[in-house]
């Protein structure tokens, strides 16, 4: 049909994961609910220490339009509200809940049939239920719908699995296919779009055959099979590969009439309407050489990483490195007592650190990073400008367009830490922009 945006076929160092049946884990004694587990302002706590909370009760109120509410994943008592290490890096305000094991549901939860055909009511419900993009980027879904209502014709459902080696989206599509199709219908209605594209990578054969048999008869939902390339699940890449539309630098999907939702997000929307249950649970893939067997588990948000790995059968060998997220974009963590968040689609435990820093050599200008970059950037130059702290050049070469997918570093024969240089470059450019702004204001 058309050229695909560059990407790489990642050699699977991770074993293939059987997506189903997913494992439901025993619940932990304590859950750590970060109030900042989405893009935007952190939620404001609306419970106090010592208070009894029910499963599904709101414990954090969204602060502003780009923010998301946080709900208690279990019933129990609020032990503390304090700064705690977060899976997104650094520390954030966290509500620590002691589980009473009773799973008492909040009396406020009820089905919302009125939302089936009312876009405004649905957006309000999505906001109330704290639903965010579950592919990992965690952008508040209500804000996404709001910003693009009426401006778009196509809703794209991301079933591409954002990273190689994970099977969380795959499991969600297989186990919750009815909820997924319900969610697609709701999102179409809320966005005012005419058609939906369900984009699935070709290596997820079971999901393709299951869902293609269930598509609605009116043809509003099309299933599109995509090659298993990385980063196929990136928003801009997915839009280009399904519709051929390109978004200019700094633009939004709504500019080209599209909105992209992860399949698990659509399921969460359907669940909110069907039972009123807010977002408190997600699929998470456990993989890596330290685990005896890779598996997909259902986890409550806020479950400590340590509890998940122990409850899922523990490690085979002591891990040297633990990564939250996928092998390409995940962040390695140094503590296992932090709770997983709404974007935690994987936990990887590696028996060896796998670090290549000792093999680092100099750039040989082979251009492989330029060839592979799905955003059309020049990581070789960005690396140089970052090292030289040339902020203006970083801006000129669009460092902010980098999505840190890691394809450049993956293919680099010199093993340069290109992704971290991009992160550093962004930080340096941001600092320079702030300094420029302050200087211009001072000169006025």
């Amino acid at each position: 049909m058309k050229l695909h945006i560059p990407g790489v076929r990642i050699k699977h160092t991770l074993p293939d994961v059987a997506p189903v049946p997913s494992l439901t884990l025993p619940l932990p004694e304590k859950l750590y609910m970060p109030l900042s587990m989405h893009i935007g302002a952190p939620a404001a706590p609306c419970v106090s220490v010592g208070e009894q909370v029910y499963k599904g009760q709101k414990i954090g109120e969204a602060r502003g339009a780009i923010s998301a509410a946080v709900h208690a994943p279990v019933s129990g008592t609020v032990l503390a509200i304090e700064q705690w290490p977060s899976a997104r890096g650094g520390e954030c305000e966290t509500v620590i809940i002691e589980n009473d094991g009773l799973e008492t549901l909040s009396p406020d939860l009820c089905p919302h049939p009125e939302c089936e055909n009312d876009a405004d009511a649905l957006v309000a419900l999505v906001r109330e239920c704290g639903i965010v993009g579950m592919g990992g980027a965690t952008f508040p879904t209500a804000a996404k719908i709001d910003s693009a209502r009426g401006k778009m014709d196509t809703v794209i459902l991301n079933g591409a699995e954002c990273e190689p080696g994970l099977a969380s989206d795959y499991a969600a599509m297989l186990e919750r296919s009815d909820a997924l199709l319900h969610g697609i219908r709701l999102l179409l209605m809320a966005c005012g779009a005419k058609s939906a594209i369900l984009a699935i990578e070709e290596n997820k054969g079971e999901a393709i055959s299951l869902l293609s048999g269930k598509l609605p008869a009116d043809g509003s939902v099309k299933l599109q099979t995509l090659p298993s390339l990385y980063p196929q699940g990136g928003e801009k890449q997915l839009i280009y590969n399904t519709t051929g539309r390109e978004i200019r630098s700094g633009g939004l999907p709504a500019d080209v009439g599209c909105a992209v939702f992860n399949v698990e997000t659509a399921i969460a929307v359907a669940e909110a309407v069907e039972s009123g249950m807010p977002l408190i649970e997600r699929y998470c893939t456990l993989s890596g050489s330290a685990f005896a067997q890779p598996k997909v588990v259902r986890v409550r948000i806020g479950t400590p990483v340590r509890h998940i790995s122990e409850a899922a059968g523990g490690y085979e060998t002591a891990p040297k490195k633990i990564i939250l997220g996928g092998p390409m974009m995940g962040m390695s963590v140094y503590r296992t007592d932090m709770g997983v968040n709404k974007g935690s689609n994987g936990i990887l435990a590696m028996a060896e650190s796998g670090s290549e820093s000792e093999r680092q050599t100099s750039c040989i200008r082979c251009g492989r990073c330029v060839e592979n970059c799905p955003m059309g950037l020049m990581p070789n130059y960005l690396n140089l400008f970052t090292r030289k702290n040339a902020a203006e050049k970083l801006q000129e070469y669009h460092v902010f367009d980098c999505l840190e997918c890691g394809v450049c570093a993956y293919g680099c024969p010199a093993r340069l830490p290109l992704v971290q240089q991009m992160k550093l470059g962004k930080a340096r450019l941001r600092a320079w922009q702030n300094a420029e702004k302050a200087r211009k204001e001072a000169q006025k």
């Binding site: 290490p85 520390e91 140094y334 650190s353 830490p417 971290q420 550093l424 930080a427 200087r439 000169q443």
Partner: protein, 266 residues
């Protein structure tokens, strides 16, 4: 005859072009403030950026246009300020000479995790812990973002910690701006005592984390006859507006942390 013609023709052409050029120079003259050029000559020419303008030329232009005070050039110090003030026809404010000072003496006993990413302080705080990999969360990371920022070769990494050569330092503050841990302060030049620690842990914890850190015992605070030393956030801080550089606190410090510069003891 031919030779004479050629010489005359060339002389004539030369004269005409000369006249045209001198006419153009008058008509199209770009007015340059002489003061700007003279100030540019006086400024150190390191283009350090300490003034907040793009290089020394930018600073000179800002001074002439009144957007910046005559004492804008920090590295140039009072001597430069006086000369610039003379050109501008104003009185220079005499500023206290300042130097950078790193509030960490090193000695962290270990690391929270192995970090083997980009060897840059800012990069190290962007992954893993936002406070870096050292056990002491306030400590210097030792990758030398400040060294890179210094245009005067006045700060170096010695035994894993940034140290300032106070005689080479011009107090421009670029290192302080580059430090992601905000560990570098500007202190007056010529003081006898300084306390290189900013650890916020309690004494017992500090002893475990760091071989040299301040344990907050407050012996310095008690011994100071001028009320210049205070223990704030579990580490001692000197108020240089009160300090008289007697050096008594340094003698009392049980950790031998307070550094004494014998040249400046009064």
């Amino acid at each position: 005859m031919n030779t004479l013609n050629a010489v005359l023709l060339l002389a004539l052409l030369g004269g005409l072009f000369g006249l045209a050029l001198s006419y153009a120079a008058k008509v199209y003259e770009v007015p340059v403030d002489q003061r700007e050029e003279r100030i540019s000559e006086i400024l150190p020419g390191a283009n350090c950026g300490g003034c907040g303008f793009a290089g020394c030329g930018g600073c000179a232009a800002a001074i002439v246009s009144g957007r910046a005070p005559v004492s804008s050039c920090v590295p140039g110090g009072n001597a430069t300020a006086v000369k610039v003030a003379e050109i501008m026809g104003v009185e220079a404010e005499i500023q206290e000479l300042k130097v950078a000072f790193v509030r960490c003496a090193g000695g962290s006993t270990g690391q929270k995790y192995d970090y083997d990413g980009v060897k840059d302080c800012l990069a190290a705080t962007l992954v893993g812990s936002a406070k870096g990999f050292q056990l002491c969360e306030q400590g210097c990371l030792g990758y030398g973002s400040c060294v890179e920022a210094c245009k005067f070769n006045a700060i170096h990494i010695i035994d894993g910690v940034a140290r300032v050569d106070s005689d080479a330092c011009t107090g421009c503050g670029q290192c302080a701006a580059a430090c992601p841990k905000k560990l570098i302060d500007l202190i007056p030049y010529g003081v006898a005592v300084s306390i290189p620690c900013s650890g916020c842990d309690k004494g017992a914890a500090t002893k475990k984390l760091c071989g040299s850190g301040c344990i907050g015992c407050a012996l310095c605070e008690k011994s100071c006859g001028h009320g210049a030393v205070r223990v704030i956030d579990n580490h001692a801080v000197i108020d240089y507006t009160k300090c008289v550089s007697c050096g008594v606190c340094a003698e009392k410090c049980p950790r031998s942390l307070i550094t004494l510069d014998a040249r400046f003891i009064k």
